[in-house]
């Protein structure tokens, strides 16, 4: 529990979403596939942003896969979600993870419709 009255927690996503994010990481030998992100953390950050913009959270199901905590500090995003954390007594990590999970669903939908991942910023 932090001084602000909410828990920090940790981030993680389902294995399915992790696999999806992995498939979005840039590979110089496979440039014809839509792989816009430099790392899996970058992809995770994008998915989280997508979820929060669409105000959509999805609970994680199945086994979870972690995201490198050193490269993703949940406190950097506390301003955006602290009210929600206090109000629902949830940790920042949980909230971010659920937004990211939802973001992955949105990405998957876009890919299914042959849209590019980055078109989701429009």
């Amino acid at each position: 529990m932090s001084d602000q009255g909410f828990a920090i927690g940790s981030v993680g996503i389902s294995e399915t979403s992790h696999a999806l994010l992995e498939s979005l990481v840039y590979n110089p030998d496979d440039v014809s596939e839509d792989r816009p992100f430099e790392s899996i953390v970058e992809a995770f950050r994008f998915a989280f942003a997508l979820g929060i913009v669409h105000e959509k959270r999805t609970k994680r199901s199945g086994k979870s896969a972690g995201v490198a905590p050193r490269q993703f500090n949940v406190l950097d995003y506390s301003t955006l979600i602290e009210e929600e954390a206090v109000k629902n007594s949830e940790s920042l990590g949980l909230i971010i993870s659920e937004y990211a999970e939802a973001g992955c669903e949105l990405i998957q939908d876009a890919l299914s419709e042959s849209k590019s991942v980055l078109s989701l910023i429009d």
Binding site: F37, A49, L80, L118
Partner: protein, 640 residues
């Protein structure tokens, strides 16, 4: 070897002659009739102990020619059989390594004379020497002439040399022209073949073009993908800013309002302080003129009301407690972290669209490529591609050859100019014209002889290499390892491996066979139809090579072949049985003690009684008796 009706051997001569003397007489038939050669060795002392104490004589009778003795006799022999050739007709198996070393060594002096002799070159060399000698005489005459004559003579030498250079240049130019014509002919042929596929050519060209476009687009795609990846690093900010911008702006408004409030509170406090001071200090006097004022009370009431209003507003403002300034600053700072650059979204979209466009273009090109490609069979495609590549190569070669030919023509022109210049110089000579002409002719002849020798040696080298390779192929037991013989310009030899290069460490058997093959090839190329004597040929050969050797040399046609082998090389009975049809005669050489059965040709009984005390054997069938201590060599014919 004949003496008093019986075979004369060394031991007899040694034991019985008062003056030891031995003769060897050789009879032969040749193109010049019967040949009789007698060599006699006579002791010059009572008891000769070395060759130095022996006197040698030679008598030669060829056909109807008069008898020749001594050096004349030797010259008569060498007139039909040069001494240098003995290596190729009297082959000593024990000296095979020596032969091999001579062929392999860089210092080939050991074989050079022999090779020249085999090729019949000595006559030419002698001709060259004779001409040089004659020319030296003329030169000395020329040397005594005036400076102009000398210069003219030198110019003549130079002219002859230059004419030779011109000749060479013309030959080289012609060679290059021939090569150019050959390639041009091949190019025409290729073009004709391409005509057969002309309806496919546009498709193949289109495919090539498409392939090039696809490759190029793929390069661009790689760049576009990397660019997209770089731009997408802030894609999350673009998204989050949509969410946080409103919050950021609200907080900013709050911050502005808070700043206004602070200023307002201060203003109200200042006003209150001023009004309180005013009310306290004024009493019943006018604050302006310091005189009693009739409406001072009314004035004070007005000021009091203002004071109350300020206090009321101040109370309200102080009761409105917004977010603390520090907290506002922190939150605004955190939210600003999510703010992308103004054009970030546009740049990300542009990079993404560029990548997507290229992906679509490549997919479209690949689809077109596959559609066109399906119209061609693999064979047709391969043919057209191969022909296209060949045409390209040949066109490049034609261009190269044309350039070479032009250069060669220029060199010919320059050489011609030089010849004309030298011709002009030789015209200034005051030299006796006959000497001049003779010198010129001999100079040309010397050049011609040298050219002939070189040309002949080269041709002979090729023939020797070819023949040696053929013989080697017949005798070699490892054709999968050793494929032939290489003979270089100095007649150095090497065994070739399957890659056509010199084998690094050939087996000793292969080396022996190579040596035999080269000797045989040299003899063959010499064209001399003489018998071949081979002494202990199988000394360094294995069973396979030994058998192959006899099989090759003992042909039913060709040169007569005499082999002198010891019992360890070839078994007499087995060899005679194997090659019976090809043998004219076979003999064994032995000592009496080697026989345990009777060796009389008409008897050959094995019923022999051995007397160890007297060291004698006696045949019980015919009564023949032989001394086992005798050193008298027996030459016995093997019945065929």
């Amino acid at each position: 070897m004949v003496g008093e009706g019986e075979i004369l051997m060394n031991s007899t001569a040694y034991e019985e002659d008062s003056t030891q003397e031995m003769s060897v007489i050789l009879f032969a038939e040749g193109k010049r009739g019967s040949i009789e050669i007698t060599r006699t060795a006579r002791s010059t002392t009572t008891f000769a102990r070395s060759d130095k104490e022996m006197e040698m004589s030679l008598d030669v009778k060829i056909g109807e020619e008069p008898l020749k003795s001594g050096p004349d006799g030797q010259e008569a022999i060498e007139s039909f059989f040069p001494k240098e050739l003995e290596r190729f007709f009297f082959i000593d198996g024990e000296a095979l390594e020596e032969y091999t070393e001579m062929m392999r060594s860089s210092a080939l002096e050991g074989l050079k004379e022999e090779v020249n002799s085999v090729l019949g070159i000595p006559a030419l060399l002698r001709g060259d020497e004779d001409l040089t000698r004659i020319r030296r005489g003329i030169k000395s005459k020329i040397d005594s002439a005036t400076k102009a004559d000398i210069d003219s003579s030198k110019a003549l030498d130079e002219l002859n040399r230059q004419r030779n250079v011109l000749k060479t240049k013309i030959r080289e130019s012609d060679d290059l022209k021939n090569k150019l014509e050959t390639v041009m002919s091949k190019l025409e042929n290729t073009k004709e073949q391409m005509q057969a596929h002309k309806e496919l050519a546009p498709i193949v060209e289109e495919l090539k073009l498409l392939k090039a476009q696809i490759e190029l687009k793929k390069v661009y795609l790689k760049e576009a993908a990397a660019e997209k990846m770089n731009e997408s690093k802030i894609a999350w900010k673009v998204l989050l800013w949509k969410k946080s911008q409103q919050q950021h702006d609200s907080l900013l408004t709050i911050q502005n309002r808070a700043n206004l409030r602070e200023r307002s509170i201060q203003q109200h406090k200042d006003s209150i302080r001023e009004l309180e001071t005013l009310l306290k200090e004024t009493g019943g006097l006018c604050p302006e003129c310091k005189q009693p004022h009739p409406e001072i009370e009314k004035y004070r009431v007005g000021k009091q009301q203002k004071l109350d209003e300020h206090k009321s507003v101040l109370t309200r403002l102080e009761e409105e407690i917004p977010m603390s300034s520090d907290e506002l600053t922190i939150k605004l700072g955190a939210l600003k972290m999510f703010k992308p650059q103004d054009d970030s979204a546009e740049r990300i979209s542009r990079a993404s669209n560029k990548w997507k466009k290229l992906v679509n273009q490549i997919a479209s090109l690949e689809e077109t490529y596959e559609r066109l490609d399906a119209q061609l069979t693999e064979d047709a495609k391969t043919n057209v591609e191969v022909l296209g590549e060949r045409k390209g190569r040949q066109e490049a070669t034609v261009a190269k050859r044309e350039s070479e030919w032009r250069n060669a023509q220029n060199e010919v022109n320059q050489a011609e100019l030089e010849v004309r210049r030298l011709e002009g110089l030789t015209g200034k000579s005051n030299l006796n014209k006959e000497d001049h002409q003779l010198d010129n002719i001999i100079s040309s002849l010397i050049v011609a002889v040298k050219d002939t020798i070189n040309s002949y040696r080269e041709q002979a080298r090729k023939n020797v290499e070819k023949r040696a390779t053929e013989v080697f192929a017949k005798l070699n037991n490892a054709p999968e390892v050793y494929t032939g013989i290489k003979v270089d310009k100095d007649f150095k030899t090497a065994i070739l491996n399957t890659k056509g290069k010199a084998a690094r460490k050939p087996s000793s058997g292969a080396v022996s066979i190579m040596t035999m093959s080269v000797i045989d090839a040299l003899r063959h190329v010499s064209g001399m139809d003489l018998p071949v004597f081979l002494d202990t040929p199988g000394r360094s050969l294995d069973q396979h090579h030994k058998s192959k050797l006899l099989d090759y040399f003992w042909q039913t046609e060709g040169q007569q072949f005499l082999i002198f082998a010891h019992s360890g090389e070839y078994a007499v009975e087995e060899t005679v049985n194997q090659f019976e049809g090809r043998l004219a005669r076979a003999y064994t050489i032995s000592l009496p003690r080697d026989h345990r059965s009777c060796y009389q040709p008409e008897c050959l009984s094995e019923d022999v009684e051995h007397n160890s005390y007297n060291k004698k054997n006696t045949c019980n069938a015919c009564g023949f008796e032989w001394d086992l201590t005798s050193q008298k060599t027996l030459v016995l014919e093997v019945p065929l």
